[in-house]
Symmetry: C2
Subunit: 416 residues, 2 copies
């Protein structure tokens, strides 16, 4: 892609009411654009990152036998009065009407997935199974001031599992917990499962996932040996120095919560009277789990975890492009060689963001750092004298000269 | 995928209030599930078809330099009062409130895309460009009774282009018209552009695309030589026998409209005061085009175009799986060979829906026909005696025996 043609260029400033790191950098970098508090347009650069995040999640959910579906945003109010969450979640619900019909804009999908699963689940033979969607959620958050971390309209993967026994749920819950840890690891993040209270979703066991971020809004207390953590708030008045389980010294880390999993038990199957006929011929309530991870929130979390004073530093796995290529000056040979390399890299399946603008080198370097693609290539009259280009990793201080003919292989090796 | 594990099995009946062919077949086949009038869940089989339809559209929009973005569903009401469409489209608008803020659930996105583009467009050098999204639309349709053809919540690709001159718009408009024809062709459909009045969207020139379907709700009058058509309604009182342009005899065809493109001109740029500085230094209004195609509607149209009394007949390009494989009976060798072939085909990248249930052959054959995958393979004791399987195209009357060892290559050749 030629940067001159890309829709959504860098900006010097973010809107004044955006204070979070992720919002500032994503807005300035041309990844997102603000429509209203907590409501954003996703621009071409942003879509490329979000699609990679979504694909990682999709692959890991498929790997634990999740089946992808898509449920609607408009939920008939009757589904929500059935569970009583029209009252308990009233504050954050968006509602709409069509004639005498009232709808809730889905902030979560237990109220639609349970009746859906009920229509296809009669016998113990039909379980266990898990269905998930990558969809948009709506929550009227009073404090939508953290960029992609807390939106009013935001992307989410939500999966729901259905079981005949608590043992089956427990086993699947642990599989999904591991799948979540793989998602974070593939996004370059350090994550710990934290046992937590379930809030409005359930009174049963649940976990949040704490992502290590220098400017996180929460504090977690980590046991590296048990590979687990607790929200520091839950430890008020308790010993925060040693792990209660193994005695290892605990470490405090700033964190952002980016994912929740819940053992719902029979809360929703009882509300909707969702029963199955078990092996013993008796009717029993289906046992459920649910597993949520905000896709846009995860994108924001990645930016909170990886940035410096110059801009974003994308992990390899979710970078919008593989290389940011800068040509310097109007010299004909420089332009010719830049075009040639651009084509060679593209033909090799390398995604290049080619800064072909007639801007100053300084402006181009600053934009490259702000946008945060892991590799930068510079072609100039000086480098061409040595049949070379400058290659610099986003996190390196200095660039190094490499031969033009080696550029393709260097990039391929970097992303291997 | 093992059919025994697939979420969303076939059903004998569709809900009584669903009269359209696409709704009946998609509901019975386990592609969609009904939540409310015009609101559906997309099940795993349906998602696979819809994703292929969306990917075809995405590729063709990228091929005409469209850049993918994602705009929100929640539109601040002020954007809609700016254009006056809060009144002219009032009947179909879903509205919601958050405190003293009012939002419209986007039925179309001119009101968000114009201010967005305005923030990134200052000079003639910034144009032309086109941005599109694959997103969900909300329209409170009074007659949501045609399955996926007219939903209240439905998938849509909407693209918007921005130009400095009418010539530039005209040129781009023709490119997109051709891209649309490629989309339909790749979906196996026969489509004709039809000049049409623009309805609520514009008073300027626009086209609908008429898709030939035996049970279509509209009638179009086709000139095969000009490769164009007119809605028969527009010809009331006029000559419907010969093409006004070339004199060729016209043919009447039943059709479904599945796509609209519009030359918006300056309607929205004037409303939002979106100007650019032209080469001559003067400020002028940006000239816009918009291009919409319902993704779920297109999926419904494909079913309307391709079905018989037994079920759906998916075109190769959008089939949920490549092969429906049936094993008959509980014979150990049959099961062993079925499992072996299933693995061999999957390893070759062939998507197999493997009906491994202990249902009767008749039930399995009926489900195969209803689901409509283009190829069916049957393994039984009888076929194994000849080291063979039965291969049948969905549209063939009779199956033919082929050697098991040739099955993989036959399937690959079919989809070439």
């Amino acid at each position: 892609m030629r940067y001159s043609k890309l829709f959504g260029k860098t900006k010097n400033d973010a809107p004044h009411d955006e204070n979070s790191i992720n919002a500032k950098l994503l807005l300035r970098g041309g990844f997102i654009d603000k429509v209203a508090a907590g409501i954003y347009n996703m621009l071409p650069l942003g879509i490329r990152v979000l699609d990679k995040v979504k694909q990682i999640i999709r692959e890991e959910m498929n790997a634990v036998d999740g089946q992808e579906i898509l449920m609607p945003t408009l939920h008939p109010i009757e589904l929500w009065t059935t569970t009583g969450r029209d009252k308990t979640m009233d504050e954050i619900l968006y509602r709409t009407h069509a004639g005498d019909k009232e709808f809730v804009l889905g902030p979560s999908h237990e109220e639609t997935v349970t009746p859906l699963a009920q229509r296809y689940t009669k016998s113990y033979k039909d379980m266990p199974f898990a269905i998930y969607q990558l969809q948009t959620k709506f929550r009227n958050e009073p404090r939508a001031k953290s960029g992609l971390l807390r939106g009013r309209e935001f992307g989410m993967k939500d999966m729901y599992s259905f079981h005949t026994s608590n043992e089956s749920l427990d086993e699947y819950y642990d599989r999904v917990k591991d799948a979540y840890l793989r998602v974070y690891e593939r996004c370059g993040l350090t994550a710990y499962p934290m046992a937590a209270s379930g809030g409005a979703f359930t009174q049963n066991l649940s976990h949040e996932f704490g992502i290590k971020t220098p400017a996180g809004e929460d504090t977690m207390v980590v046991c590296k040996k048990c590979n687990t953590a607790l929200n520091a708030e839950l430890l008020e008045g308790k010993d925060k120095s040693k792990c209660a389980k193994c005695g290892t010294e605990l470490i405090e880390e700033k964190a952002i919560e980016a994912g929740n999993i819940f053992k719902l038990g029979t809360k929703y199957s009882e509300a909707f009277d969702m029963k199955f006929v078990d092996e013993d011929g008796k009717e029993k309530y289906v046992i459920m789990g649910c597993y949520g991870i905000g896709t846009t929130r995860l994108m924001g979390t990645i930016v909170e975890a990886f940035n410096d004073e110059k801009g974003i530093i994308w992990p390899k796995s979710v970078t919008p492009y593989h290389v940011y290529m800068i040509s310097i000056g109007a010299n004909e040979d420089v332009i010719k060689e830049s075009e040639k390399l651009y084509k060679e890299l593209a033909d090799a399946g390398i995604d290049v963001l080619y800064d072909d603008r007639s801007e100053s080198p300084g402006k181009k370097f600053n934009d490259a750092d702000l946008i945060g693609i892991p590799l930068r290539i510079v072609i100039s009259e000086k480098t061409l004298k040595e049949e070379s280009v400058e290659l610099k990793e986003r996190t390196d201080k200095e660039a190094r000269l490499i031969l033009i003919k080696d550029a393709k292989q260097e990039i391929i090796n970097f992303y291997k």
